[in-house]
Symmetry: C2
Subunit: 408 residues, 2 copies
């Protein structure tokens, strides 16, 4: 897929183009049985940085340490990530292990510890195997390269079945700015936070506070609009590093090409969010729920999330059963005021309900809309002009299989 | 099971003892393919009545008509119920059909239409097959009997695998007062409302406003503390009829034996709620989550519901995987303030976490606690003296199977 918008260019799928001045690595260190489990992403020079973090009250050491660090100085030069162990609910030892993970990385890269962010994902409540982790970080620091983006993308996965990356280029001040984004998702994914793990590296020159503001706003409309299973994780975060090596003038909201950058950033975030939803644990389909005709974006988002999170809607999509009553029921318990007798509902291009009542639709045509890779549900409230989209996946036998024995 | 509390006696399982002055019937009218689908419960004399109804904005005609009726006059003499068709999202025709269902019943029983309540459960958005329904009501009115409680209990089921009934007796003013309760549940069960269908008949003499208050309070602690799948239905209701034929002095909160009646009523409601949770769609186990050490009952309830609603906790219980980290994560996203570093967690009698961290527990012993019919999860916040219990079930392959093709 090669998409050329008026403002930005999306690089073809699978193109792992790191922005100028970034190197990455990923390898198997022995935290997981077989698959890669340690990833490292490093900038040549200090990068403006921004982050959003889980709103779960139970937060892993990596979340609290990164958040504290970015508050005191919004710059980073390296992100080290491990999968297989979340280092959450591990108390003081977990906090000390997280600090050691950062210190070890800093020493190997000859950086101050303050410039290293960390992320962990995997089983909750088990002590981190520090020897394996440190050996892995050492090896990763030795194998950093400009071609290492895919290895990094692989190293952060847990039950994900595929890597999730995006590369976008945009011209700012006639300079080519590149954004590379990578994410992992799968389970414990629910939109009430900065969700799952996502990392964006860019060579844009951008003001850190403008970057943080952009990240927050974009997260609400992308990562926070997906759900896999309604469970909010203890380790979720999105981190961005912008090292300025594209040499554009510093981006702030007053920059004449701010919108171009913001659009490219939004596209990259949305793309990763959708990939996470599509690869939800056990999922066979991406479900896009578009709510329109709402009185505000907030109310449209609330309804879209309620539908995409409904176990009954998700199982009906899995079984390709055009059970639109469940969609209207989920609108009804969303907590958002609306008029049930005005609601229109479409499955793909087939309208199944008008003014809150069923139409005599063609059952086979409706079913065929639910047998596609990407299922679109559209709900028109006919109350106003606002809209929003939420992303999720179907609920399948495999979700149950994967999670009935995740730990054992 | 014969339980004798200090105040009330629970009649053995399967004893369908209707209170004095009540008759019931249930039969197959052709709305569903094979199973019974029309039920009728009638009191000889007008009964004080109370009801609680779904908080879903999308509400079936039966819900709105009953609510309006009870507000204008809290007395009823008959409840007619059909399963197989929810008569929800059916617009004006649905409202007219619901009224005709009441009128037909009233005429057959020679009652004013105002004294008949109705309930429908089943598929949403399909027109009610009125001919079959009216024929069924006619037959039911002809077969009413004091032994008809079990037939009625069968007639209200949808994907339920068993009937849910309870019979309790309590002495008030030296008179024997009997409560008979019956419920259906299975799917679209979530505790933010008066949930699913439940009906209680009693021969107690009780003031209607005291009855309504008791029902509201009891519902919050019983029916509203269960979840099967997080989906709030359009047709949920609990209705109570108290016909006074036990001849006790009118019960109000000032009656010296009010507490005895309230305890018996609470027990009956809790019993039905637990039976609904245990028979959740696809469920193999009842899950009881007890939260203690909370600063208030409200916060304990919030946390207990968050845990019992977690898809990840539910699948781990299904797979008997002692994945306590998911329990703590669900406490963390409950929205209730607490101190993660003080939380203790037990699976049955095995403590698996202390002060928010994992213990080196015996994996086999913990697993065995998850292989029982009723799985108990206890969370101690160690912050105060309040507690609450929520009920749910495991999430299984069969939940997905049942709901992937419910309608087709």
């Amino acid at each position: 897929m090669m998409v050329k918008s008026t403002t930005y260019t999306v690089l073809p799928d699978g193109t792992i183009t790191l922005p100028r001045g970034f190197k990455a690595a990923g390898l198997h260190a022995g935290i997981k049985k077989k698959r890669k489990d340690v990833g490292l992403l490093v900038s040549e020079v200090p990068a403006a940085a921004a982050g959003v973090f889980t709103l779960n009250t139970v937060r892993a050491a990596c979340v609290t340490q990164n958040e504290r660090q970015l508050k005191s100085n919004p710059h980073l030069q390296a992100i080290v990530v491990n999968s297989g162990n979340a280092n959450a609910c591990t108390g003081r030892q977990g906090d000390a292990d997280a600090l050691e993970m950062r210190a070890c990385t800093a020493e190997l890269l000859n950086l101050p510890v303050e410039s290293v962010a960390i992320a962990s994902t995997g089983v909750i409540g088990m002590p981190m195997p520090m020897a394996a982790l440190k050996q892995g970080i050492t090896s990763a620091s030795e194998s950093l390269s400009e071609q290492g983006g895919l290895d990094f993308a692989e190293a952060i996965l847990t039950t994900d079945t595929c890597t999730k990356t995006v590369a976008v280029q945009v011209e700012i001040d006639s300079k080519l700015v590149t954004l590379f984004g990578v994410a992992k998702g799968s389970g414990m994914i629910h939109p009430n936070m900065a969700t799952m793990l996502a990392f964006v590296a860019t060579d844009a020159n951008i003001d850190p506070s403008a970057l943080q503001k952009l990240l927050g706003k974009t997260t609400d409309r992308t990562y926070n609009c997906i759900t896999v299973d309604g469970d909010t994780s203890t380790n979720d975060m999105v981190l961005v590093m912008a090292n300025g090596m594209a040499d554009n003038k510093t981006l702030t909201e007053d920059h004449p090409e701010w919108d171009s950058f913001a659009e490219a950033f939004h596209f990259a975030s949305e793309q990763l969010a959708k990939e996470i939803a599509r690869d939800g644990e056990g999922a066979t389909k991406l479900v896009e729920v578009l709510v329109k005709g709402a009185v505000s974006e907030l109310s449209a988002t609330g309804i879209a999330k309620s539908i995409v999170g409904s176990s009954l809607v998700k199982t009906a999509v899995f079984g390709a059963d055009a059970n639109w009553g469940r969609i209207l029921a989920a609108v009804g318990y969303s907590g958002v005021p609306f008029d049930p007798e005005r609601v229109d509902i479409w499955l793909g291009s087939v309208q199944v309900a008008a003014d809150g009542m069923g139409l005599a639709f063609d059952e086979e045509a409706a079913k065929s809309q639910l047998l596609t890779d990407t299922v679109t549900i559209t709900v028109d409230l006919k109350l106003g002009d606002a809209g929003a989209t939420a992303y999720g996946c179907d609920l399948t036998y495999d979700y149950v299989r994967i999670n009935a024995s995740y730990r054992t």
